[in-house]
């Protein structure tokens, strides 16, 4: 702070962070000429520690970072950040304006009971091996794999405005995978069990019902391998939270980022069909569709007490009864749309990355309390129930998308039937959400999430959750994939 002040910075902040990541994996693969498959463990532990300094000089941002955390290096890197800012200021005619923020002095820890980094690796490997063996023991199973991932972020933030905040966030994620192969017909299919990734400790791993799910997916992958291809055309869809969460993310989550709407992401991620003039008036969904952004939902992957601008996090409406009403913002963006405070959406994925506007948790409000999943299915004559994530792609303004899934079940005459294969659905964001005519009640609401959402240049990764209940969409274009 002293160095920044000496070099005439009008604002300075520093983040000092330790980022830990542990991946424990087991893969079971057949070996040519052997009855006994290979059981391959892979364990990678990472620890990254460093700091990043942001300054505003002559109205422009500068940033520099280093992994050598000493007083001398911090002073040197602060001077580098000032050099960067001065260079940027030569091209900029509009100075950065930060919305007011209270200077908090707090510590906060995400909710967990057992820090996964304190749990011995041997136990994690045994758990994965047992589950992967259970899958591999299934009829016609080619291979299996299990994966545990743990992340811990311990970050300290201080600003020239007097903020001093330390936060510890722990996240847990798991996947169990079954692979079936039909060599005669050159077909390979996969079925996953992916519990929602959450801000949680190792206690969550114990609650994942590994055996039950191993037995389930080893049967379902074989059904998927033998499932008939879908007959393409307009169909009604019932999407489970494991699938709908990603659709929410791509179609509504990204289109309501203010930096995209204002052109700041034009060169890579793109812009948004929800331009500023549409706020408060554009219908993007049916009257039962309401979505909100937040960084306060317990267990959410984007949940924190403060964002990387030092702003206290909050909950805010994004779509209200089908109308687009609010953007995700940071301190420097709020004034650009006439708002007085930030929505707390500033985030950097490492000490070495520049904080910028990233997606919070974005969730769909549940439907009427009495609506069940069975009710949604009962209202479909010709449709598909989709579970899990598959391939996903959406255009640079978040209109046209195509999503797959992990398992597809035919719905015929109001009943769920057998599995289908080679399914993807295509739509346009407002058309899709306008076709939503049923959302199951709060009892069905689940918090799914993403660990690796990419944005920015150089690219950064972000994790966030998307809560929803199963929902029904009418007459969506279903395509036959390879």
């Amino acid at each position: 702070m002293r160095q920044a002040k000496k070099l005439k910075a009008s604002y300075c902040d520093i983040r000092i962070g330790r980022y830990r990541n542990q991946n424990v994996m087991v893969r079971i693969s057949p070996v040519p000429g052997s009855e006994k498959p290979n059981e391959v463990p892979v364990i990678v532990d990472r620890d990254s520690f460093g700091f990043g300094v942001r300054v505003i000089v002559d109205g422009a941002w500068g940033f520099a970072a280093s992994s050598v955390v000493t007083s001398e290096e911090i002073a040197r890197i602060t001077a580098e950040a000032v050099t960067v800012a001065r260079a940027s200021a030569t091209l900029n005619s509009t100075p950065v304006v930060l919305a007011p923020a209270k200077a908090y002095k707090e510590r906060w820890t995400s909710r967990f009971e057992q820090n996964p980094f304190d749990v011995p690796i041997a136990g994690k490997l045994t758990l994965l091996l047992d589950a992967a063996r259970e899958v591999k023991a299934g009829r016609k199973i080619f291979g299996s794999a299990g994966w545990l991932r743990f992340d811990s972020t311990d970050k300290y933030f201080a600003s020239s405005e007097g903020a001093s905040i330390q936060q510890l966030i722990v996240q847990t994620n798991a996947v169990l995978l079954a692979n079936a192969v039909d060599i005669a017909n050159r077909l390979s299919r996969i079925r996953n069990y992916t519990p929602p990734p959450l801000s949680a400790g190792y206690e969550y791993v114990a609650a994942m019902n590994w055996k039950e799910n191993a037995l389930r997916i080893r049967e379902e992958v074989v059904e998927h391998l033998q499932a008939p291809p879908v007959k393409p055309g307009r169909k009604d869809l019932v999407l489970l939270p494991s699938n709908l969460s990603l659709t929410i993310h791509e179609s509504i989550g990204h289109s309501t980022e203010l930096d995209r709407a204002l052109g700041f992401e034009a060169n890579r991620a793109g812009t948004s069909f929800l331009t500023v003039d549409k706020r408060g008036r554009e219908r993007v969904g049916s009257g039962i569709v309401s979505l909100y952004g937040d960084r306060i939902t317990p267990r959410g992957l984007a949940t924190a007490a403060f964002d990387d601008d030092g702003v206290k996090t909050t909950k805010f409406p994004i779509v209200s009864k089908g109308i687009f009403v609010g953007y995700q913002t940071t301190r420097e963006q709020a004034h650009l749309i006439g708002e007085k405070e930030s929505r707390g959406c500033s985030y950097a994925d490492s000490w070495s990355s520049v904080p910028f506007q990233r997606m919070p948790n974005v969730s769909l409000e549940p439907g009427q309390s009495e609506t069940t999943l069975v009710d949604l299915i009962a209202g479909v004559d010709d449709g598909i129930l989709i579970d899990g994530r598959g391939s996903y792609s959406i255009d640079q303004q978040r209109y046209n998308f195509q999503f797959g899934g992990d398992a597809f079940y035919e719905i015929r005459g109001g009943k769920q039937r057998g599995m289908l294969s080679r399914v993807a659905y295509q739509s346009r964001t407002p058309d899709f959400w306008l076709s939503c005519d049923g959302i199951a009640g709060p009892a069905y609401w689940q918090l799914y999430g993403l660990l690796n959402d990419g944005k920015g240049e150089p690219p950064q990764s972000n994790a966030m959750s998307h809560g929803c209940s199963p929902a029904r969409f009418r007459q969506v274009n279903v395509v036959l994939t390879d």
């Binding site: 080619f142 255009d395 640079q396 195509q402």
Partner: protein, 444 residues
Amino acid sequence: MLNRQEAQRIVEKAVKLSTFPEFAISIDWSEATSVRFANNAVTTSGFTVSRSATIACAREGREGRYETDDLTDEGLRAAVRRAEEIAESAHPDPEHMAPLGPQQYADRENWSERTAAARPPRMIREIQAIVDSAGRAKLVAAGFFRAQASCSAIASKAGLFGYCRSTDSGLSTTLRNPQGSSSGWSSRQAVDIAELSGAALGEIAADKCLRWNKPVRLEPGKYTVVLEPAAVAGLLGPLAVPLNARLAEEGRSFLSRKGGGTLLGEKLFSGLVTLRSDPFDRRFPTLLWDTDGLPASPVTWVEKGVVKNLHCTRYWAAKTGKPATAFPRTIVMEGGGARSADLIRSVDRGLLVTRFFYIRVVNPQTVQVTGVTRDGLFLIEKGEVTGPVVNFRFNESPVRMLANVRQLGQAERADGESGTTAVHMIVPSLVVDQFTMSSVSDAV
């Protein structure tokens, strides 16, 4: 930046700290400068020094890996201890391969002092030229300029040591009209930052943006397409993983033969298609070894349409009696002599594609991918570009694309989708028949 002697000193220290019979370490060190701009002004820019060590140790097939940023004596000691603790917890890995001993790496270095020394004040001059191009055309510029100097070292207890350093840089820009109804893009990457011209890129992006005015909506369907190099690079990227021997032999790749075996040696693509890896090409950052530490060497994957080689890990090679072959971290597709205008002239009715976006694999086995066109899609009629077209979503496989190649343009280094692809590419423009556009994409 870490020099060879300093790198050697660090790795020797780490080797001495290790108590396990097998020990390998790699060090990556980089100094990266970037300037990001949008709405004709700089937004975020920065300078980052990153250094990390990856330590792998093993005893009786039990492996542990640990990555750290802390290269001090204390940091290395803790990292080695942690890697060994992990290994002690692990089960034996039946696919474990011991670290390599001494290897002969090529004496090559693609390095530019200008790139290594580049900082925002120098880089902003090129961005100013782009903003000027935008201003003259009444457009709005966004983009990204990066420059990086990096070095890597690799070593093992068995006597392996390698060191290399390289530079790389890239400049890309998107110019849009203020109404947001038109967009144009251009991009270039180079080892020597002096090869990047903001003025030249700004002119190309402005021209694309101005020409993409009042696009027509065409029906989805199969089209003959002229793919510019960035579009080709985007589609070839997903092909790197499936060119794997194990996947093919296990029946999980497009190169698996129905009923068993592989399609190695078969002609699957147009006779115009030759795909190689060339880690020594002067246009790429230096890559002297592959992920296993084997010396990088040129490999021909496809020659005149025939599949010639598959990449193969050391384990699978030992198991099946094949040579170990490195993963393709570079792809060079041989080009022809035709200029862009010649390719367009050869098309009676088709589409000219600037680039693709959000490319994702739909079916790993057939390598069917989906994505959308972006920043300049034009109709070609009777050998002439006649006007802009509303964007499309496509569902297509690079396997089919390479089978349907009709003509090659001149090859150049090109971005994939994001400019950050791990696979560096030199690819030509292509004329491809029967390319599947599956729906209209209204995005600009």
